[in-house]
């Protein structure tokens, strides 16, 4: 589904990604871990199309398409979803209206009929249950005054509405207490199918107790320096990242 080859990216003069290689197949869950500043969030942003980053080398193929050539909205329409580490507050735009615009623009781009208000509300109510989110929250301005947990649940709600092929969760666990973490993980798990894939970007192992990864990759200095199974995440939890840094230094 997703094939990343030798991806290198910089922001300003600072190169952050130094040759990432990653293959993600349908039905898989990949965890990207690593110490702060290793490039995890940059990778997520580059995949979603954030303009601040410049790709200097490499290829990203998503379902046979060159992802790097596509505008952020076209990536979303093709089925890429980024759950933000820091969801943006937009006063004056309600989540409901925003989602309706998004869903209908995506349908239109696929040559499908837009949803009428009734069908939209019906689908919305189903998806709200997944992340235990209240409609009154969705009537309010997008993320404005939301708690950390509410913002993250709203991200997963949007993921549920858009039904992406590839969901990238950028530090979705940050700022969540254990109950909110469980709700968010539950939502993600419910959305998993054989035909979609998830990339979980996280600093800590604890989210991976609830969203079980098939593969765990360690990102350090802009490169994947180690890959393994979920046991690798447990090892990182127990031993920290220093041994990885030592291994890299020796190599």
């Amino acid at each position: 589904m997703l094939s990343i080859k030798n991806l290198q990216a910089k922001i300003g003069d600072k190169q952050i990604l130094n040759g990432i290689n990653l293959e993600v197949k349908a039905g898989e869950v990949h965890a990207i871990m690593g110490p702060n500043g290793s490039g995890k969030s940059t990778l997520a942003s580059v995949l979603a199309g954030r303009e601040d980053y410049e790709v200097v080398q490499g290829e990203v193929e998503f379902q046979g398409q060159n992802l790097l050539d596509m505008a952020p909205e076209d990536r979303a329409r093709a089925g890429v979803f980024l759950a933000f580490q820091y969801p943006v507050e937009i006063p004056g735009v309600s989540t409901i209206n925003f989602m309706k615009t998004a869903v209908n623009q995506i349908l239109k781009s696929r040559g499908q009929q837009p949803l009428d208000a009734v069908s939209f509300l019906k689908i919305m109510k189903e998806k709200m249950k997944l992340v235990d989110i209240d409609q009154s929250l969705l009537n309010r301005s997008l993320n404005e005054g939301f708690s950390g947990g509410e913002k993250k649940r709203n991200e997963i709600f949007q993921m549920a509405m858009l039904e992406p092929k590839l969901a990238i969760l950028d530090e979705t666990d940050s700022g969540l207490d254990i109950d909110a973490l469980k709700i968010v993980a539950h939502g993600v798990n419910k959305l998993r199918t054989k035909s979609n894939a998830v990339i979980v970007v996280t600093h800590y192992q604890r989210l991976l107790d609830y969203i079980i990864p098939d593969f765990v990759h360690v990102l350090y200095k802009g490169k994947i320096v180690k890959s393994g199974t979920k046991d690798l995440a447990l090892e990182l939890e127990a031993k920290g990242y220093d041994w990885i840094k030592d291994e890299v230094a020796v190599a």
Binding site: A48, G49, R50, E51, A71, P72, E73, R75, A76, R77, F81, L82, F84, P87, V88, E89, I90, P91, G92, V93, F98, M99, T101, A102, V103, Q105, I106, S109, S141, Q158, L162
Partner: protein, 438 residues
């Protein structure tokens, strides 16, 4: 008497213009004379004049107007195309500053609303008109006010008796016919709202033709105890409009005033809005929205004068500047020594969409009382690129994302419009402007 002309300035031409205007009623001759003297003393504001520092109105009047060729012949213009179709009400039309009875129609019952040409009311000895005319707009501090007071001939006098809840709004259409040549008008309005009464007045400014045209309007509104005035100004003239307008609202105790100023088009629009809170328990809200592009200059100078204790004023002005346009906001709040327990709030927020667009914003609070709550804030920025990206990552194209965010910015002002049909109308104007056709 001669005018001292500093630099090259249209003051002398304006003085001639004033001399040519015919006083229709003897009752106000002394007021005219004083105003002319004040005008001669002040002269048109030059570049150094603090109140007009960012608004080059005097040099534009000099550059763009030919005072010998100003149009004074009657117009055959049909004003209906400028009417807001969905908003029914009492309609008053002024064409080139001339009150047009033929195009005006008052549908409210006579015991609710009394509307006439102000010059007729004064000439006929209307006691209310005589009592309040020229009592509030200060000719000594502003040359345009002096010019208007010295030279106006027509205008709207609205008198709402006590205890009248006026069900239908009053719409005043100010239209310039600039098809055959340049136009200058100086119209004068007086609104007297009786105790416990309630009325909505909507002013809309338009023009036909391509020639430059200038309006200098002065409106005085007296809002009595417990009365409620909703006052709207819709400035969306696609023609070459230069405009200076003063609206001075004098509020008595426990009155409520909401003003709305929408500036969407025009060449140069200068709105002077002054509220005098001359009683206790007063509530005043001033809302403004300016969405401008090309070379438009939109300048809002507002003053709230808290003269007595225990009143509340709130001001929210928002602007979106594109192209070469220029926004100016100046918000004065005075809290007099005796005006204890005053609550006064002011906010001015701006978005610049192009590198060439500018805005100058200046809050000016002068507080002489010590037990008050006053706050002000102003921001100027560009569209939040992180928010744009966020919307795009959900599949929304950039143009729509941009429009959604601009509309969301404007909605705070729109949401306060009470009159439903008017709200829909303005919402459409704003949506068209922001291309929110998603």
């Amino acid at each position: 008497m001669s005018v001292t002309v500093k630099e090259k300035n249209a003051s002398a031409e304006v003085k001639n213009l004033i001399d040519k205007s015919v006083s229709l009623n003897p009752a106000v001759i002394s007021i005219r004379k004083e105003a002319l003297e004040a005008f001669q003393k002040l002269g048109l504001p030059d570049k150094k004049a603090e109140e007009y520092r960012h608004t080059p109105i005097t040099s534009l009047l000099q550059r763009d107007f030919d005072y010998d060729a100003l149009l004074s012949k009657p117009s055959d213009l049909d004003p209906k195309e400028y009417f807001i179709p969905s908003v029914k009400g009492n309609i008053i039309v002024l064409i080139n500053g001339v009150y047009s009875s033929a195009h005006s129609s008052v549908i409210s019952p006579a015991d609710e609303v009394h509307i006439t040409n102000l010059s007729e009311a004064l000439a006929g000895g209307d006691t209310m008109a005589l009592e309040h005319f020229a009592k509030y707009a200060d000719v000594k501090s502003d040359a345009f006010t002096a010019w208007n007071t010295a030279s106006w001939n027509h205008g709207v006098f609205i008198r709402i008796p006590e205890n009248a809840i006026v069900q239908t709004p009053i719409l005043i259409y100010h239209i310039h016919d600039a098809r055959a040549g340049q136009v200058m008008s100086a119209s004068r309005n007086l609104f007297v709202i009786g105790r416990h009464s309630e009325v909505t007045i909507i002013e809309k400014f338009d023009s036909a033709g391509l020639s430059h045209h200038f309006s200098n309007t002065v409106t005085e509104a007296v809002v009595s105890e417990n009365a409620h005035l909703e006052l709207y100004s819709i400035q969306n003239d696609a023609g070459s409009r230069y405009q200076v307008g003063l609206t001075h609202i004098h509020q008595a105790g426990s009155s409520l005033v909401n003003t709305f100023t929408f500036t969407l088009n025009g060449k140069l629009i200068r709105n002077n809005l002054q509220l005098s809170l001359d009683g206790e328990g007063i509530e005043s809200h001033m809302f403004g929205l300016y969405l401008i592009t090309d070379d438009t200059v939109a300048d809002n100078h507002t003053t709230v004068d808290h003269r007595k204790p225990n009143s509340f004023s709130n001001e929210i002005y928002k602007g979106i500047m594109d192209g070469n346009s220029k926004g100016v906001f100046n918000g004065k709040i005075y809290v007099r020594p005796q005006a204890q327990k005053t609550n006064a709030f002011q906010s001015n927020k701006n978005i610049l969409l192009s590198d060439k667009a500018t805005v100058n914003t200046k809050p000016q609070l002068e507080i002489w009382a010590d037990d008050v709550k006053c706050s002000h804030g102003c921001t100027t920025g560009q569209l939040d690129s992180e928010a744009l990206f966020y919307l795009q990552t959900r599949g929304i194209n950039k143009e729509t994302a941009r429009a959604m965010m601009l509309y969301a910015f404007a909605i705070e002002v729109l949401n306060n419009v009470k009159h439903a049909e008017l709200k829909t109308y303005i919402d459409q104007l704003v949506s068209e402007r922001l291309h929110t056709n998603f």
